[in-house]
């Protein structure tokens, strides 16, 4: 007989029963504790969060965690929210959509947290937003820029960043369409990774330029595992397009740019998403970055008043300035805090609807600039446009945030 089928030894059975009783007692104690302490005026405001601290999204997930923790620390140093200290309750959802649903159920129903913040990435934001909506909770999220987030009809969701992917290049599109006839590029070549975010950014710009009368002469999509870009580069080069748009992440942008340089293709304008803002980018393609454009949702050098303070304190705390994930998490905190301070409450129940209604009507100043939202929770801004000018990536658009003049046409690479 295998050990698996051995009946439980009587003494073991006794131990198991005792363990069960002990566990039940603990659970009951825990419940009654909660009942006693919930809602007191001097108790801390508890914010429930589930984040992908392990698994696929663990890198950005940890960035978001640093941002949330920085927010809580700074706000507590400044006297808290509504005079109460803030406490974060962060669970690890292991980058799993099932897990994230359980986590928010537990945070809201069992732990009775006062507020919730969103997790990282569209895949986790959508299911957890549904849970938050069932409980009528305000749901502000730091990441989840893909269109499907805003197509679900959520009435409690707000995306705490300047713009969704499709709108990242809005300032650049306006600028190009406003150019006089002789200067404006006539033809555009587009190459994008088969990825909702990368495609969103590139196609947002492509469609606006096509509407404005520019010809799209190359429109390539490549799978995320593509490493050899010489054929795509050959197509772009052969078309002789005036402008090239890359819906890129990182290595694809680097490989594509080098392949274009090898073919001696010289566009007037070159715009790539994500990669150029990476600190390794300039090194990877050598000194040939001049004139490359990229949208960015956050830069540590932005002069918004709360950002100057945030970067200073964050740098003191961590020894390095915050990145975009940290900033978006911090923004989430700022947005919720603004609503809480304005409405004057932070608890489950009616208060949550008041917070939602307030955010619908009002503008919030954050580290990524002033934010407002439409009825689906889409932010109404656009990303800043950065360009490599004199070897450094600098903001060139919009004009009122400009650090350097836009170079057009771009110098040869």
């Amino acid at each position: 007989m295998s050990p698996l089928h051995t009946p439980l030894h009587p003494r073991r059975r006794g131990v198991a029963a005792a363990a069960c009783v002990a566990a039940t007692a603990l659970v009951l104690t825990a419940c009654s504790d909660d009942g006693e302490t919930g809602g007191g005026a001097d108790d801390p405001i508890v914010v429930g969060i589930s984040l992908p601290l392990t698994g696929d999204f663990s890198e950005p997930g940890k960035g978001v965690q640093r941002g949330y923790e920085a927010w809580a620390e700074f706000i507590n140093e400044d006297g808290g929210l509504l005079g109460r200290q803030v406490e974060l309750k962060i669970l690890d959802d292991q980058s799993s959509a099932d897990r994230v649903v359980q986590d928010y159920e537990a945070l809201i129903a069992q732990d009775e947290v006062d507020l919730v913040f969103g997790p990282f990435s569209t895949r986790l934001v959508v299911p957890s937003a549904r849970v938050a909506e069932e409980y009528g909770m305000l749901y502000v999220e730091p990441a989840g820029a893909a269109n499907e987030v805003f197509e679900q009809g959520f009435e409690n969701l707000f995306y705490a960043a300047p713009a969704v992917a499709d709108d990242h290049y809005n300032y650049l599109a306006e600028q190009i369409l406003a150019m006089p006839d002789g200067e404006r590029p006539q033809t555009v070549a587009v190459a994008s990774m088969d990825d909702p975010f990368a495609q969103g950014t590139a196609y947002g710009l492509r469609d606006k330029l096509a509407e404005g009368g520019l010809d799209v002469v190359v429109d390539e999509v490549y799978p995320p595992n593509t490493t050899d870009f010489s054929s795509i580069a050959a197509k772009i080069d052969d078309s002789g397009a005036d402008m090239v748009i890359g819906g890129t992440q990182y290595q694809d942008a680097v490989n594509l740019i080098v392949a274009l340089q090898q073919l001696d293709y010289q566009p007037q304008l070159a715009a790539f998403s994500t990669a150029p803002t990476n600190p390794e980018f300039a090194d990877a393609i050598g000194d040939k970055t001049e004139g490359i454009l990229s949208p960015t949702g956050y830069t540590e050098t932005a002069s918004w008043p709360s950002n100057v303070d945030f970067v200073k304190r964050y740098t003191e705390l961590h020894g390095n300035p915050p990145g975009e994930d940290e900033a978006n998490a911090y923004t989430t905190g700022q947005v919720v805090a603004a609503a809480v301070e304005a409405v004057g409450c932070a608890e489950q129940g009616e208060c949550q609807q008041q917070l939602i209604d307030w955010l619908r009507e009002n503008e919030v100043d954050t580290v990524v600039g002033p934010l407002t939202w439409d009825e689906t929770g889409k932010p109404q801004g656009a990303h800043l446009i950065q360009q490599y000018v004199d070897g450094e990536i600098q903001i060139v658009l919009p004009k009122d945030a400009q650090e350097a003049e836009l170079i057009h046409p771009k110098p040869k690479w």
């Binding site: 799978p223 010489s230 054929s231 050959a234 990182y250 090898q262 073919l263 050598g286």
Partner: protein
């Protein structure tokens, strides 16, 4: 589509095919001498690329000089791996079990690369990275030309070694009929060990060639092993000329198909060719009678 684009794609295909040919030659060699399916071949390829990058970063010298270290090193590792790991597998199930074993080795290498150098994507920046030469209207990147040259030289060296040296004859005898080779006094175990070492040395050359013109990251090897496996089946398992010819044809095919079909569909050529081979000619299209025996 213009004639220039077509010609440009053809040239790019030839350059890509050359690199595939070298790597596939190594992969098919393992199978030939040992009946081993070496999943970790492309992991060693990426490891060599990382070593070239690391060498360039530390010394500032041309990454190709790292070959002086990596080729002997990989040869030794190959011999050691054959002696210490592969020969422990039972001969009856060696093909199946080697898939598991080398899969584990691939994961180990990937993990170690990530552990030592991090998951960040790396690229070697050389003064001639973006340079190209004009060739009848097509632009050929200097780095791709060097990579192709390295591959062609190594393949030629491999060919000479196998055809015109005593060791080569012994190796080919081992590939063709192990027992018969033993009967005429060939130390097939030693020969197989050296064969494995040579296979791994091709990965060192290939990885260095790759590092000149690619952004590398630890998990990159998974993108290489699929096409390489398809190539050696199409070329006939164990047949080095077969692997080289199949690599060239599929490399050029992939490059040309990208023009009308786009990148996503062009890469399916390897698998379409694989299915077609298995249906029509399971022993492979070029040489290779080995597959019939399994």
């Amino acid at each position: 589509m213009t004639g220039t684009l077509l010609f440009q794609s053809l040239v790019l295909g030839v350059l890509l095919g050359g690199l595939y040919a070298l790597l596939a030659a190594g992969l098919t060699l393992y199978f030939g001498v040992m009946r081993v399916v070496m999943i970790a071949h492309s992991a060693f390829l990426i490891l060599a690329a990382y070593l070239a990058w690391f060498f360039h970063q530390q010394t500032g010298m041309d990454p190709m000089l790292s070959l002086v270290i990596t080729v002997p090193l990989f040869f030794a590792v190959g011999v050691g791996m054959q002696r210490l790991l592969i020969t422990r597998l039972r001969p009856a199930t060696i093909t199946m079990m080697s898939v598991l074993l080398t899969f584990a080795v691939a994961l180990f290498i990937e993990g170690m690369i990530g552990f030592v150098w991090g998951g960040t994507q790396r690229r070697i920046q050389l003064p001639y990275s973006g340079d190209s030469v004009s060739f009848f209207g097509a632009q050929i990147a200097v780095v791709k030309l060097i990579a192709f040259g390295l591959a062609a030289l190594s393949l030629a060296g491999l060919y000479l070694l196998l055809k015109h040296s005593r060791f080569g004859q012994a190796l080919r005898a081992t590939i063709q009929h192990r027992e018969a080779a033993q009967l005429i006094g060939i130390h097939t175990n030693r020969v197989a060990g050296f064969g494995f070492g040579i296979g791994l040395a091709t990965a060192a050359v290939g990885g260095t060639a790759l590092s000149l013109d690619a952004t590398i990251y630890p998990s990159l090897h998974w993108h290489w092993i699929g096409p390489l496996m398809a190539i050696i089946v199409v070329g006939g398992l164990g047949s080095i000329p077969g692997a080289a010819i199949a690599a060239m044809i599929l490399g050029i095919g992939q490059s040309l198909l990208q023009v009308p079909l786009g990148t996503t569909w062009a890469q399916t050529i390897f698998y379409v060719a694989l299915f077609a081979t298995l249906m029509l000619r399971p022993q492979g299209f070029f040489g290779g009678r080995l597959a019939q025996r399994f």
